[in-house]
Amino acid sequence: MSFDSIIELEDLARHYDMGGDTVKALDGVDLKIGRGEYVSIVGPSGSGKTTLFNLVGGLDRPTRGRVYIDGIDISKLDAYELAWLRCRRIGYIFQTFNLIQVLNALENVALPTVFAGVPRDEGLKKAEKLLQSVGLGERLHHRPTELSAGQQQRVAIARALANDPAIILADEPTGNLDLNTGTEIIDLLHGLNKKGGLTLIAATHDLKMIKASDRIVWMRDGRIEKIERG
């Protein structure tokens, strides 16, 4: 079998100490995600989706188990290497968009290229192209407050793509959007996955999003309940 996995989770667990009680946010997750796959992570709130995301994105350290990205155990990376991983290999999309309010759309999208050490002109040119590709070519110099929710999420998607990452982590990307705008965002992400070959992992409640995915991972109480083919 030629399953080329880009992410491997091995007995992954994250426990929190909450005033003497141990909360098992994640408790023994094994999962392999293939290169170019589109995986939806589904489950009630508190089932461990966000914790899983944070661990895969190198934002948090596991209590137990391993995260491999491209075969590399990311718990062995130092702060600098983790920053590099977040900068170059992973693009994040959030439910609340999280754009930098003082920067316009173009500068927001170019920001990851700044951290990647790309010369400014080159970064801005790339950002302009990306914004055009998400249909915001006319809104380059608008600030987040001057954009609709759907437009802000498009800016966030363009920003996630700025350093050509291999993996996109999207945490409830349509959670703050109305139905139509949500559908547009799903189509956009789906297109990136199918045409761009990006590995897309999305935590979601959105049925449309779930339907579009290759695999659906159902989570409950910090464990994988079942995995379905989409």
Partner: protein, 204 residues
């Protein structure tokens, strides 16, 4: 990954990048920046006003043989004013950190290192210190001239050695930048140490 990091370029954030972003923050959040700059400008104005008065008195004394000087206790008041200003800046910058919790978390997701976050806040502090110090010095020269001028004559500023004035200008701005940066160290350190997971979850 070690190899890969070596093969690719690493993460970077130059002083120039930080300055650009710092200017944007100051421009877009002018109110907060204005309070910080006013606080530092007032303290520096107080200090340089005293030093200017002293300088004018000295020049006048040399020219006329009179003996005028500034009371020493006034320097203690300046010292207190400077400390109050530092505390004020620390407070304002801590609020700026809270306001930007999410943005700091986001920047860490985009590849910012702790040192980059510190640099961003320090650059802002330096810009604010520079502007506050320059404004404060000008105010200080004016009020110093007002306080000494009635005794020494207002043309005393033309008689004062230019090199001394320049030295006071440079000194005031350097002190202002130093104080502003020192006052921002703790807030910047707090910001840099933020766990991105918590920062992203934070609701203001």
């Amino acid at each position: 990954m070690g190899e890969q990091v070596a093969r690719h370029e690493g993460v970077s954030f130059t002083v120039r990048d930080a300055s650009r972003l710092g200017f944007d923050y100051i421009k877009r959040r002018m109110q907060r920046a204005a309070i910080v700059m006013a606080s530092i400008a007032l303290a520096i104005a107080f200090l340089s006003s005293l030093m200017m008065t002293d300088l004018f008195y000295r020049v006048y004394s040399q020219l006329s043989g009179a003996s005028l000087s500034v009371e020493t206790y006034q320097y203690w008041l300046v010292f207190v004013a400077l400390i109050v200003s530092v505390v004020g800046i620390t407070n304002a910058m801590l609020i700026a950190v809270y306001e930007r919790y999410r943005e700091i978390g986001t920047m860490k997701c985009l590849g910012a290192l702790d040192a980059h976050i510190v640099m961003l806040f320090l650059v802002e502090a330096i810009i604010q210190g520079l502007i506050g110090g320059a404004v404060g010095f000008l105010l200080g020269v004016l009020t110093g001239l007002l306080s000494a001028g009635f005794t020494t004559g207002f043309d005393i500023i033309l008689k004062a050695p230019g090199l001394d004035l320049l030295a006071y200008l440079v000194g005031s701005i350097a002190l202002s930048i130093g104080l502003s940066a020192a006052a921002t160290l703790y807030p910047a350190w707090r910001a840099a140490r933020l766990n991105p997971v918590e920062a992203l979850r934070y609701e203001l």
